[in-house]
Symmetry: C2
Subunit: 116 residues, 2 copies
DNA sequence: GAATAGGTTTCCTTGACAGGTATATTCCCT
DNA sequence: AGGGAATATACCTGTCAAGGAAACCTATTC
């Protein structure tokens, strides 16, 4: 524990954020929205070198954002739902926080109005 | 343009991800879930130095994740909804992608079954 | 079974960024 | 005005990760 929050949670998120924080990787993710692709195609479409692409794909895969399927010589990468769901859950939890606060505020205000 | 996607979009997301990719900053965000806090309190609760904390708060603020309110000597930081909503929208857009794909697959399968 | 195509890994260099310490700034109090 | 509290900034240093070039794997084709 480095702090007062469960580390596993923080660490998983950290890995996801780190992976997505690099612009080329973010573009890979956006590109793969359109469907699975091989390494060479990704590299070409994004004007990246092939080793560079390979390394980025590795990082994204290790963060659980991508999954790979070996087809003979080629490796086909596609988006993997898990981490995106985690991300959405995390982000939406803040909205819930705020909504709760709003509810409490509403309660407070209506109690005021009722003269209690 | 570094690629084939609108840069503003990618860049905004990149800034958010970069900000959240640092564990201490992620912990600050989690801590601020519980409510607004001053710099000193944040530093103390997370066992960070004050300058360190200040710098992290700056990064988070510039990413739109925090907003600051000056109260005399003190600066009170609180979570700011905007970037979290952006994040949630982004993450959930992938889910929509997949759901659409499932729909198309369903269509396809039922057409198969109908012998068309 | 060489040559080739598609990918991965290694090594090196360089730039970005986090942490520490010291210094500046702003506000409050007396 | 002077002193102290709360925060921000500057500067320096060390670490880590991204990019490039080359070497390495593995499957395919002739």
């Amino acid at each position: 524990m480095t702090g007062i929050f469960p580390d596993g949670y923080i660490l998983g998120m950290k890995t996801i954020f780190q992976a997505l924080a690099e612009p080329n990787r973010l573009q890979i993710v956006e590109l793969l929205r359109t469907g699975p692709l091989g390494v060479g195609e990704i590299a070409e479409r994004l004007s990246m070198s092939q080793p560079q692409t390979s390394k980025h794909l590795k990082v994204l895969s290790e963060a659980g954002l991508l999954q790979m399927e070996a087809a003979a010589n080629r490796r086909i990468y596609r988006l993997s739902a898990g981490s995106f769901q985690e991300l959405e859950a995390w982000a939406s939890s803040f909205r819930r926080d705020w909504e709760q606060r709003m509810d409490r505020l509403d309660d407070y205000l209506s109690r005021l109005q009722d003269g209690k």
